[in-house]
């Protein structure tokens, strides 16, 4: 049985200009120990999907509905806020994009680490402190004992993200969601953080949802990818199959606009023209149609249907990109 099973997730936000449908019927499974990438541009619903799973979408103005979000056999949507609180930070944890702003500036690193241990593991102050030192050492922070008394502003961006990882993994969660966790970091630090997450989650068998707009990062880390566009998953598949045979116009566009290490000189990147649709108005046809350069006449007549290419690889696209 999958560790996480999301069925027909819809998340919308009431705004002054209308209801924004940020997530429109997302379904996917995540196996224990699997690393799943969520890829898409800004506003494609990746983060909102993650926050909906964590039940961190503020309601109102947000509204989260789904047939089920089953985590370890329990439907998260049926739990009370108090019951979800017991799971957050303990069995499912999250790290965020901007490590500069995701740590509380007026609390020491020690406090921010120990509080999650004391809350969920019921550790004493001394035991939590000892465990915090181990955690900081685990994420590669030197002189961990002295660092407990430091404040976030005394750390570099990479160090802060290491602290965030230590906090997220403190209670050995089954699921870790990383929302653009390396986007705000420079490239060498990015690679270090990715390696760290890879190593630590593999050791513990933690399932990971890695959210990124960067296909390159996802390629190096994930087992499987969901490509999201306008609040829906448009293509999903194991990383190799998806890269060898992109089967949705948007996936293709993403790949053409991403620089590759093995490309030939003179090869030009091709940006995706246009803007993503506004998510207030209903979208009857393929949401990517106005920007698609491989569309076929059928795209203008009926909504896209799912085509399956292998056991786990499918795309919602009418164009046949194999030929």
């Amino acid at each position: 049985m999958a560790l996480l099973s999301v069925r027909n997730l819809y998340t919308s936000f009431a705004t002054d200009r209308g209801v924004v449908r940020a997530v429109n019927g997302v379904s996917f499974d995540l196996e224990a120990g699997e690393v799943l990438g969520l890829v898409g541009e800004s506003g494609s619903g990746k983060s909102v999907t993650a926050l909906s799973i964590m039940r961190l979408v503020p309601e109102p103005p947000g509204r989260v509905t789904a047939d089920s979000i089953a985590f370890d056999g329990v439907d998260l949507l049926r739990l009370s806020e108090a019951q979800v609180r017991e799971m957050r930070g303990a069995r499912m944890a999250m790290i965020f994009q901007d490590p500069m702003r995701s740590l509380n500036p007026v609390l020491t690193i020690g406090r921010q680490l120990t509080e999650v241990l004391r809350r969920h593991e019921g550790l004493s102050a001394a035991a939590a402190r000892k465990r915090s030192i181990e955690l900081l050492e685990m994420v590669g922070i030197p002189m961990a004992e002295r660092r407990l008394a430091a404040y976030p502003h005394q750390f570099s961006g990479g160090m802060r993200q290491r602290v965030m990882i230590a906090i997220a993994l403190a209670c050995n969660p089954r699921l870790l969601i990383a929302d653009e966790a390396t986007t705000a970091l420079d490239v060498t630090i990015q690679a270090q953080i990715i390696d760290l997450v890879k190593r630590l989650t593999r050791e513990r068998g933690t399932s990971v949802i890695w959210i990124s707009h960067d296909l390159g990062v996802v390629a190096g880390l994930c087992d499987r990818v969901n490509v999201m566009y306008a609040g829906t998953v448009v293509e999903s598949g194991p990383i190799r199959e998806l890269f060898h045979r992109p089967s949705h116009g948007y996936t293709l566009g993403l790949m053409d606009s991403t620089p590759r290490v093995d490309e030939q000189a003179g090869h030009r990147l091709r940006p995706i023209e246009g803007l993503p649709p506004n998510l207030i108005d209903p979208i009857p046809l393929c949401p990517f149609l106005p920007r698609c350069r491989v569309s076929v006449p059928a795209c203008r007549e009926r909504p896209p249907e799912r085509r399956t290419f292998s056991e786990r690889h499918w795309a919602s696209c009418l164009a046949d990109l194999a030929s």
Partner: protein, 316 residues
Amino acid sequence: MWRYLGRRLVQVPLVLLVVSLMTFLITRATPGDPVQIMLGMNTSPDAAAAMRADFNLDKPLPEQYALWIAKVATGDLGRSIRLNDRVTSLLAERLPISLQLAAAAMLFALCVSIPLGVIAALRRNTWIDYLCTGYTVMGFAVPNFGLALILIYVFSIKLDWLPITGIGSAEAAAGGWWAYISPFIVPAIALGTLQTAILTRLLRSSMIDVLSQDYMRTARAKGLLPSTVVIVHALKNAMIPFITMAAVQFGYMIGIQVTIEYIFAVPGMGSAVLNAVVNRDFPVIQGFTLVIAAFFLFANIVADMLYALFDPRIRY
């Protein structure tokens, strides 16, 4: 930190020197002769001249100022013309009472504004928030003497719950703790309501700002209890501007409680200053103004120190 404190303290005498010159000039520039007011119109010119000489009022203004400021530097604020008492002993009598009233008013302001500001921010744009906003608008709009009269009418006359006067009186000193505290309640509310409004507004907006920060999402993602999220993670951040403002407002209070002291017959600095102004009692006006200014300056320094104490990012 200590060097910064030292630098700030060095500035204090300089500012006070300017303040002393200004008050000196203003008292001398306004019409009214303290000696004439003291002795009445029918005194002999000789007696008036003798009294003028006694208080150095017959000397040229620069000399008067120089004589006075030289004494001030030694800690002697001179004698009151009207009361024939030392200004310093007058201060010793009245400053503690004014400080107690200011502290009581501040305590009231803190006790009301912290819960109100937090609740208004958490229940933003609901009727609870609008109710809090209504209260703060009232606090800004109603002048403290007007509020004082309303409170006296309701709590002291109609309901007869609280005394109107009695701060610093012999009965208050002789009675139990309630006899001592009860006369402070109505004037403290009248005096502190404006500060309550200012501080509630400030805390509401800084709480709203803090609640939208990324680290608040992190705190919720950790599964912390809502009380921990609000009090430890949000309030600790939101309190930084709040505490600074509270310290500044406390410094302000001593200066603005003149009318309240007058209405409630509080034998504090405010009523003494008011009497001194009416009687052109120059040494008292000058001395008390200097002390009020010094108090305000120190409150500001304390505010800046508290800022550094509560915000680890700030180091002087």
